[in-house]
Symmetry: C2
Subunit: 271 residues, 2 copies
């Protein structure tokens, strides 16, 4: 990519991470790395190491003269939430090790940033998905099964999430990083959709609704019922909200996974 210089390091290697930050002396840091292996990351002990490595990175960044750090949190930090999750009002009740480690980085990170007068913004991503994501994750795995003509075993499908297209999320992160906002900021659409609705939308778009097997699998124990973003703060900082509809995003993932095979079907299947 023009104008981009790549550097590579292992953030879990404290000395190597410190060395890189001292060499590059970045003014802005967008910290996306974490343990993310699908299914395993909720309970992985590696969450402890990523929390520790992120604290170390934050301190190195500040001590090398950095001015603005953007960390990535998760809607899961809120836990189960009857209404929409509001950055200022909704208490954080993380229901998993992953969510607890993320909210710990937020809590300790923001107090550190206040102390040393560092710009610190914490973007809580909601249910990001889209072209290029690991095919073990919900939407690509359902699409993949349907493309192969297989029945998909889904849980109760009642959990409601705020699905946001990865391109919209990435565009928002760039705007937020370059803004002067400090604090926590939800990155979602403000619209809740149940897992069942999402699966059924995929079934419709691929013309195979009968392959969606709602209730054929156990839900993950302790999974929160509803996690949807309040997006007033995102609108004010980002200037707009994620605009891609769930149906368009799904259509693009279908196009990517089927390499053009279902393109003809897309227009017809969209609501």
């Amino acid at each position: 990519m023009a104008g981009v210089r790549w550097h590579q390091t292992d953030l879990l290697d404290r000395a190597a991470a410190a060395r890189l930050i001292r060499e590059v002396r970045p003014s802005h840091l967008l910290h996306l790395a974490w343990t993310v292996e699908h299914g395993a990351f909720w309970t992985s002990p590696d969450n402890l190491d990523w929390l520790a490595a992120s604290l170390h990175l934050l301190r190195c960044f500040n001590e090398a003269g950095g001015s603005r750090f953007l960390g990535i949190g998760s809607g899961a930090e809120y836990g189960d939430c009857a209404g929409d999750c509001d950055e200022a009002e909704t208490p954080l009740c993380p229901a998993s090790l992953y969510a607890a480690a993320k909210s710990s980085l937020w809590s300790t990170g923001r107090h550190y940033a206040q102390t040393v007068e560092l710009g610190f913004v914490w973007c809580r991503l909601f249910q990001v998905f889209g072209v290029g994501e690991p095919q073990t994750r919900l939407i690509p795995s359902v699409i993949g099964a349907l493309l192969r003509g297989e029945v998909v075993a889904v849980g109760s499908g009642t959990a409601v999430r705020d699905f946001v297209d990865v391109r919209d999320a990435a565009a928002a992160l760039k705007v937020i990083l370059l803004s002067d906002f400090s604090g926590a900021l939800n990155v979602g659409t403000g619209r809740g959709r149940s897992i069942a609705e999402v699966c059924e939308s995929i079934g419709r778009q691929l013309g195979r609704p009968e392959l969606i097997g709602i209730g054929r699998r156990q839900d993950r124990p302790g999974e929160p019922g509803r996690i949807v973003a309040d997006v007033a703060r995102l609108r004010s900082v980002n200037g707009e909200l994620p605009a891609t509809t769930l149906e368009d995003s799904i259509a693009d993932v279908i196009g990517w996974l089927s390499e053009g095979k279902v393109t003809a079907q897309r227009g017809q299947a969209r609501p």
Copy 2:
């Protein structure tokens, strides 16, 4: 001490800490270390390193077959609290980097412990003081000044804290470590005393009440008004509450600092 074997390591050196835990393979771990430099620890960036080192220690301990980890938290994790701080009901609103780092270790640590089925108890110490503590801390510094005949500049003195004798706290930690309780547990007396009351008690015991200069110094900005433990859970786990009265504890610190000089005065000065 008979029956005690000492090992020494630097917990901030990850490899050294891991090596020691692998060699010793402890069944129980009481983790007291942290950055504690008086005055500085509230905002020290070393809080980040101690949080990271503690997460590392916790993981090493579990992976070496440990069964029970006792970590040390603080009443400061609750922040300002109108009523008594209850482990189950009172939200954590840490008002300092120190308190945020401690509550992060609690939050991430307990989720980790649940995941790996490790016994994890988190003792929130309230205002521990007593014989042997650094002489820069509140009670020894006030006593020291009065023994030298100097006026002590105190802030407004309105902050209310739950003062607990270090010997009572240590005895409770031992009982709790060997119990099978998991979760958060306040270690305090359940009695709130204002800083002014404590200073005036010292003044009375030393016969120099006129040297206590309430209002002669600024309060630390953002200092919570009231932090007092609800002790129902401590009573049920420990079987009893800290029994040494504030006045007796102060008398013992006076005895220690004056090397016997004020012993004669103690009986008379106590209420």
